[in-house]
């Protein structure tokens, strides 16, 4: 269903005019209110008056995760704290979380965008929606919650975990829609089977899955096992949370909410804008964010854009499923993991060489991805006593757990086991490559 046909089916010319108006206003706003942007614009000798067409956006500098880190926690805010009604965060690099503040206006816009996206997947007032995205700092839980409530669906805020109880509720409360990560959908299925329950016998007919990369095969698998239509939804904390784009039921790309987000595809090496159809790094500018608007944010996600009109009637450009990252970030069990976080833990433990390898086991069949970190044992940390070595392993594991937010196995290895490479080290391998 198209909740907002005025915007979702807006003719391109009109949409682009709207985008330009909003872009000009937003650029002026950040120039005046955010010292960081004022400074970087001045450094590039660009002013808000220079934005006369959408193509002029290339005059503006990019914003990266490093800028978020350097301005942690509130350096990118455009409003005084008094106007902020919510603060979300997600894991950042080197242990510094990414902070996402929202004004009441932002919350309303976000709820409306999410309602629109749920509606496009076919959710209505008559649906009972079980929200198994994590509630709390993570944008997933509350993002879906507010959107579903706005739409008028009956929301069951289960959050993640407590799987046996979730399955009981799925059966008894009659949820028709499940919102969670793809890997959790598979965990639900596996646990249900252990309980002798077939999720296909429940009232579930739709899942809105995202927050981590997942393939078409995984989608087919989930649809088969749960007896649902599995729709892909995309977003990121720096921009808004979930709500940047969503698939329509034709499943031919994710429609981007272009009235709120201006997107570009760039060559990650050169920063040059690429034409439609070419794969590159997705860059997003927020047109309506109030608390923390962002200009040309480099998402590190690799995708391509398709402007062709869609069968569903929407005119908003479609992005393909994310095919990879332009940096080393991994998403494991829904959590962002950066090699630099691992490096910082190793450097923190005295004497440990930061020669490490991250081995990822993508366990499609067993559902949960596993992370194993190989660490070379140098003379500085080597002990003749087994107890001390085991303590080292334990200590590394517990530090790693607390910094990464997920548990990883530690494997101590001999020196030089991990290949030394010229230039950028290949820090991450899939188990199948070993």
């Amino acid at each position: 269903m198209i909740r907002d046909p005025e915007h979702e089916k807006m003719p391109r010319k009109e949409l682009e005019k709207l985008q330009l108006e909003r872009l000009q206003a937003k650029v002026r706003e950040v120039y005046e209110k955010v010292p960081f942007y004022h400074r970087v614009f001045k450094e590039r000798e660009v002013s808000p008056d220079d934005i006369r067409t959408l193509a002029d956006i290339t005059k503006l500098p990019f914003t990266t995760k490093v800028d978020f880190r350097d301005n942690y926690p509130y350096g990118l805010m455009a409003v005084p704290m008094q106007q902020v009604v919510r603060i979300h965060s997600s894991s950042g690099t080197t242990g510094k979380p990414t902070i996402a503040p929202y004004t009441q206006g932002d919350i309303d816009t976000w709820s409306e965008i999410m309602a629109r996206m749920l509606a496009s997947a076919g959710v209505t007032k008559d649906d009972v929606l079980q929200n198994a995205y994590g509630y709390g700092l993570f944008t997933g839980g509350l993002g879906f919650h507010y959107g579903a409530e706005r739409l008028g669906a009956s929301v069951i805020p289960t959050s993640g975990g407590n799987t046996k109880r979730q399955i009981l509720l799925l059966q008894d409360l009659g949820a028709t829609v499940i919102t969670c990560t793809p890997s959790y959908a598979l965990i639900l299925d596996e646990t249900a089977k252990d309980m002798g329950v077939d999720l296909r016998d429940t009232k579930l007919r739709l899942g809105m899955l995202g927050a981590e990369p997942w393939s078409d095969q995984m989608r087919d698998d989930i649809e088969e096992r749960l007896g649902i239509l599995a729709i892909n939804i995309y977003g990121l904390t720096e921009i808004i949370g979930p709500g940047v784009s969503v698939e329509c039921p034709h499943k031919c790309g994710l429609h981007i909410a272009e009235d709120h987000f201006l997107v570009e595809i760039i060559d990650p090496q050169t920063g040059e804008q690429l034409p439609h159809g070419e794969e590159g790094e997705l860059v997003i500018t927020t047109l309506t964010k109030e608390a923390q608007p962002v200009i040309r944010f480099r998402t590190r996600d690799i995708t391509s854009l398709n402007p062709e009109p869609c069968e569903c009637g929407r005119t908003m450009v479609r992005m393909s499923r994310i095919t990879g990252r332009s940096d080393d970030m991994l998403i494991v069990r829904g959590v962002n993991v950066f090699p630099s976080q691992i490096e910082s833990v190793l450097l923190d433990v005295e004497g440990v060489e930061p020669h490490y390898l991250i081995v990822v086991d993508r366990q499609h069949v067993f559902k949960t991805d596993e992370l194993e970190i190989w660490v070379e044992v140098s003379e500085d940390v080597f002990s003749d006593e087994m107890q001390k070595m085991e303590n080292l392993e334990k200590r590394l594991r517990s530090e790693m757990d607390s910094v990464l937010g997920i548990s990883a196995r530690i494997k101590l290895v001999e020196p030089k086991t991990i290949a030394r490479t010229e230039g950028k080290a290949k820090r991450v391998v899939d188990r199948s490559e070993l």
Binding site: E379, S383, D384, P415
Partner: protein, 132 residues
């Protein structure tokens, strides 16, 4: 008496022991005692060599993570109760904790068994064993 021990870190895989023994053989170093302490994925190989410094060097050059430690050696009569009365009970009575322990490959002079041990207080342990 005090004695040098060479330890090496190895992964628990086929061939790793061969990889340690080869450089020692090449260097002409002989092994007097050897023990392997293993966990699921790695092991610590501890050795008493006839020339600890040479052995350590050879292993380091071969790329291993190694270390040298002082531990104690003791002679015990090769009879029932030998270990009990010469080492175990005296250390226990002095409240010294034994961390690890292994035996020599050859016998000491006079039909005695040679053992090496690490305790949590080597000076006290040395005194205790000397005074016997």
């Amino acid at each position: 008496m005090r004695i040098k021990q060479v330890s090496v870190f190895v992964e628990n895989q086929p061939g790793r022991l061969v990889a340690i023994l080869e450089p020692l053989e090449k260097r002409g170093v002989s092994i007097r005692a050897l023990s392997i302490s293993e966990s699921a994925e790695f092991g610590i190989v501890r050795m008493i060599l006839d020339n600890a410094d040479e052995g350590l060097e050879a292993l380091r050059q071969a790329g291993f993570t190694t270390r040298m430690d002082w531990i104690l050696s003791a002679e015990i009569p090769d009879v029932p109760g030998g270990l009990l009365n010469s080492v175990a009970r005296p250390l226990a009575e002095a409240s010294i904790n034994l961390q690890y322990f292994y035996a020599y490959i050859e016998q000491a002079a006079g039909g005695k068994a040679m053992v090496v041990l690490k305790t949590d207080d080597w000076e006290k342990a040395e005194q205790v064993l000397k005074s016997l």
